[in-house]
């Protein structure tokens, strides 16, 4: 039999002015199960809380209802007081008779009747409350960072500098990502390599960072604080411990005409290679598809010339399992490729711009490589077709971006700024050249951004034409660009030597597959979704997984770095305690009743529902049921309302409690 204590607060006069609190206390005191009921001027004050604690002990109360303000205001206060008196805090409930009653009704009779109802409802509810122990989850204080671009590097360095171990996984043979490809960066025009490579070296030398390059995530299991990650370390064919990075193998390799992806395929590399000279780690990789040894079984020149004997043709892919407590996803972006339409993709190509057909129509990243001092042309702007310097160059913005009819409706955010930068770089290198830019809008929100854009027009003499290009075709060695200038209302025709397209930013290929492994959600473009667009912009809905950089949406470098540091701060918050404590409002499955339809699994936005196998003593499978991981569950209860056999229960909001409340009315 329950012994419920009810405490009615006057809230000074805020409640007692319209609600007859003494009558409420009297009426509620008559309810079955209520053994103590009183009213007090300020329940939340120290004497008020002491009254509550004393009553719990003296009257041997089993449950408590405090009728006062909104639980959003003082639920924590009264639950703490209840706990201090030796009762489980979840046996205390609040009845809201201020915000929902005394403040919104003027008539004393009506308000009093309503208050009696509200308190009565909570009395019936609290009878069904169960003791809920606080959930504690152990935390492994190591973190995984996926992606070795500037976002991943920044996050890894920040976490490691706090003394926590970091495992950094990068798909490519070297750290650096797209930022390492850039020539100079807006709005200060500092050289990307100069600011990037020291950070790459810091990562490699950091005692707390374990670096896996040329590796991918194979499998992710577990939950916040307790992830088990399987990493596939692809065979480099070069022993990392033995290799000194002297590079003799690369100079002797007979296969020298392989397009280098890092140089946007305009520069060439050998079959044993590092993507760029400042690569970290500086250990080469053998590209098995193009290596003569793997194709014909002959050659082996690299092995013969390697002094330390690091080349190992027999090396195999390795699977490595690491235990981590938090994951930062920083997989970055890819450029929209317009010459091919990916299979099954709703995004249509841009055949009319001739990218992939006309050699001198290039994308922005290719231009970066041409302008880069360490690029294939040594920093000279030269046409890929004949190596001549272009004297007229046309930049076209919003290729792919903001084109709903083509499948991408978002703005890629950085193109306005990098095109302005390109016109400057071009003008610095080709003094007698002329740059034209076709644009829809110039979007330059950012510190010193608009000034930078204006400089490209006012000082660097770029001609901006508002309007889109309708057609583009080759005429002799020129490219004729036809477009409209909507500001003046005329058709424009420019005979250009080179055309640069500011193509849209998209998530990395395979971003969706990785999201499925991690159990995080992504939008229709495969950008990863944050838990809340405004207030939780770096956390995934899946607890313990955080986002950094362009994998979440198009971002420039300062924003990416800020988000990476924010993600690192979130990881450190998680690591600041040995055990993760959380409210025990989580769903539980009655396994005996579960039929294993997994309707709950489908509606769970947090990936908290797992498949559990029930076996007999011989190990034979009896049935599979749903299991809600209390470390992951957020307590929304959607699974409970969805469950057709009503075998999921949300603690604190059980069907029994709700029905008791309805029946009390």
């Amino acid at each position: 039999m329950s012994r419920i204590g009810v405490f009615i607060c006057h809230c000074g006069e805020n409640i007692s002015r319209t609600v007859d609190v003494e009558r409420v206390a009297l009426e509620v005191g008559k309810l079955p199960g209520v053994s103590f009921s009183t009213d007090y001027k300020y329940m939340c004050s120290d004497p008020g809380q002491n009254l509550l604690k004393k009553a719990i002990q003296d009257q041997k109360l089993t449950h408590v209802v405090v009728a006062a303000c909104s639980p959003r205001m003082h639920e924590v206060t009264f639950r703490k007081a209840t706990e201090a008196a030796g009762l489980n805090p979840f046996l205390c409930e609040m009845a809201n008779i201020r915000e929902h009653c005394s403040w919104v009704h003027e008539n004393r009779e009506e308000a009093t009747i309503k208050a009696i109802d509200i308190v009565g409802m909570m009395v019936e509810r609290v009878k069904k409350n169960r003791v809920l122990p606080t959930i504690t989850v152990p935390v492994t204080k190591r973190s995984l960072v996926i992606g070795g671009g500037i976002a991943g590097i920044q996050a890894a360095l920040d976490i490691a500098d706090c003394g926590h171990e970091v495992i950094l996984v990068e798909r490519e043979p070297s750290l650096g990502g797209h930022m390492a490809q850039l020539s100079e960066t807006f709005p200060t025009l500092d050289c990307s390599q100069c600011i990037m490579t020291p950070k790459m070296v810091d990562v490699a030398n950091h005692p707390k960072i374990k670096l896996y390059t040329y590796s991918e995530i194979e499998l992710v299991e577990g939950y916040i604080g307790n992830f088990q990650v399987t990493i596939k370390k692809r065979a480099r064919s070069v022993d990392e411990d033995k290799c000194t990075g002297c590079g003799v193998c690369m100079t002797k390799c007979p296969q020298k005409k392989i397009p280098n992806k890092f140089d946007q395929n305009i520069g060439m590399r050998t079959a044993i290679y590092v993507p760029f000279p400042q690569a970290v780690p500086n250990t080469p990789v053998i590209d098995r598809e193009n290596c003569t040894w793997y194709k014909t079984g002959k050659c082996g020149v690299c092995q013969k010339v390697c002094g330390p004997g690091a080349v190992d043709f027999e090396q195999e892919d390795q699977l490595i399992v690491e235990a981590v407590g938090a994951i930062v996803v920083a997989t970055g972006f890819d450029l929209y490729t317009i010459d091919e339409k990916p299979k099954g993709s709703p995004i249509k190509g841009y055949g009319e711009f001739g990218h992939g057909k006309i050699p001198d129509v290039i994308d922005g990243m290719t231009f970066e490589r041409l302008a880069s001092a360490s690029g294939p042309t040594g920093g000279k702007i030269l046409r890929p077709s004949d190596g001549k310097e272009p004297k007229q160059i046309v930049f076209i913005q919003c290729i792919g971006s903001r084109a709903r009819e083509k499948g991408i409706s978002y703005c890629s955010k950085v193109c306005c700024m990098y095109t302005a930068k390109h016109t400057m770089l071009y003008h610095h290198k080709v003094h007698d050249g002329q740059a034209y830019v076709f644009f829809m809008d110039a979007r330059t929100p950012g510190k010193s951004y608009d000034e930078f854009w204006r400089r490209s027009i006012e000082e660097e003499e770029a001609v901006y034409i508002r309007g889109m290009v309708s057609r583009l075709y080759q005429k002799g060695d020129k490219i004729v660009v036809m477009g409209s200038d909507i500001a003046v209302g005329v058709q424009v025709e420019i005979e250009a030597d080179m055309v640069v397209l500011a193509t849209a930013i998209q998530p990395q290929k395979g971003a969706d597959a990785l999201a499925q492994k991690l159990g995080i959600s992504y939008d229709k473009y495969n950008f990863y979704s944050e838990a809340h667009a405004k207030l939780r912009p770096v956390e995934c809905a899946t607890a313990g997984i955080y986002l950094a950089g362009a994998c979440q949406g198009p971002k420039d470098i300062p924003e990416t770095v800020s988000q990476a540091s924010a993600a690192a701060a979130k990881v450190m918050t998680l690591f600041s305690k040995d055990k993760l404590e959380r409210e025990p409002i989580v769903a539980r499955v009655k396994e005996s009743a579960c039929v294993g339809c997994f309707a709950c699994k489908k509606v769970c936005a947090y990936g908290a529902v797992e498949v559990k196998e029930i076996r007999d003593r011989q190990g034979n499978l009896i049935k599979t049921v749903a299991y809600v991981n209390p470390g992951v569950c957020s307590g929304c209860g959607t699974c409970q309302a969805t469950c057709p056999s009503k075998c999921v229960e949300l603690d604190g909001y059980t069907d029994e409690q709700i029905v008791a409340m309805i029946e009390a009315l």
């Binding site: 319209t18 909104s70 639980p71 959003r72 809201n96 201020r98 915000e99 929902h100 009653c101 403040w103 919104v104 009704h105 003027e106 008539n107 004393r108 009779e109 009506e110 308000a111 009747i113 309503k114 109802d117 509200i118 409802m121 959600s521 838990a531 809905a541 409002i585 509606v603 936005a605 947090y606 957020s634 307590g635 929304c636 209860g637 959607t638 409970q640 309302a641 969805t642 949300l650 909001y653 069907d655 709700i658 029905v659 409340m661 309805i662 029946e663 009315l665």
Partner: protein, 166 residues
């Protein structure tokens, strides 16, 4: 000084199922802003509209509610990412079922009230109360219960035997 109670021939009983993050907070805001609305409504708090089982709505009508209000976060603003979308889909189907069994859908109101919309909460509650007041008491469920009781349909010996044999 307390204003006189307005007398109506019929005072409807309204039960509101709301989510804690948006509508409950919106109702709190109506309170802190001292807005006034009819006292007929009784609020039940849920973590999310996704938690609200259609059975609760039936239960409320069975228990003598004359009107039911379900309210949560605006689409896209759900604290739990998508709970309100699941709720919306569930209730879209459930409404048809209610209509089929003969419940006047004017007694059931779904709305989105955010934590900033104290005024909207007052409006929604007032509208529903006035509407249901004009419609009169909800008798369908009560009549059904009476019928079962008086016809004794459930307690015939034949049925009892059949039940026992199961």
């Amino acid at each position: 000084m307390h204003p006189e109670k307005q007398t109506h021939a019929f005072e409807p009983k309204i039960i509101a199922f709301v989510c804690t993050w948006c509508t409950y907070a919106g109702a709190d805001l109506a309170g802190t802003s001292r807005m006034q609305y009819p006292s007929n409504v009784r609020v039940l708090k849920f973590p999310c509209t996704g938690r609200i089982d259609p059975v609760f709505i039936l239960k409320a009508f069975q228990q003598g509610a004359d009107g039911v209000l379900v309210s949560g976060c605006h689409p896209g603003d759900c604290h739990y990412i998508a709970g309100n979308f699941h709720a919306r889909r569930r209730f879209a189907v459930f409404r048809k079922l209610l209509e089929f069994i003969g419940v006047d859908l004017n007694r059931l109101q779904f709305s989105w009230v955010s934590a900033a919309e104290g005024g909207k909460w007052v409006e929604v509650v007032t509208d529903l109360t006035e509407r249901v007041r004009a419609m009169g008491p909800m008798t369908e469920f009560k009549e059904l219960a009476m019928e079962e009781q008086w016809s004794g349909a459930i307690n015939t010996p034949e049925l009892q035997e059949a039940y026992n044999s199961i």
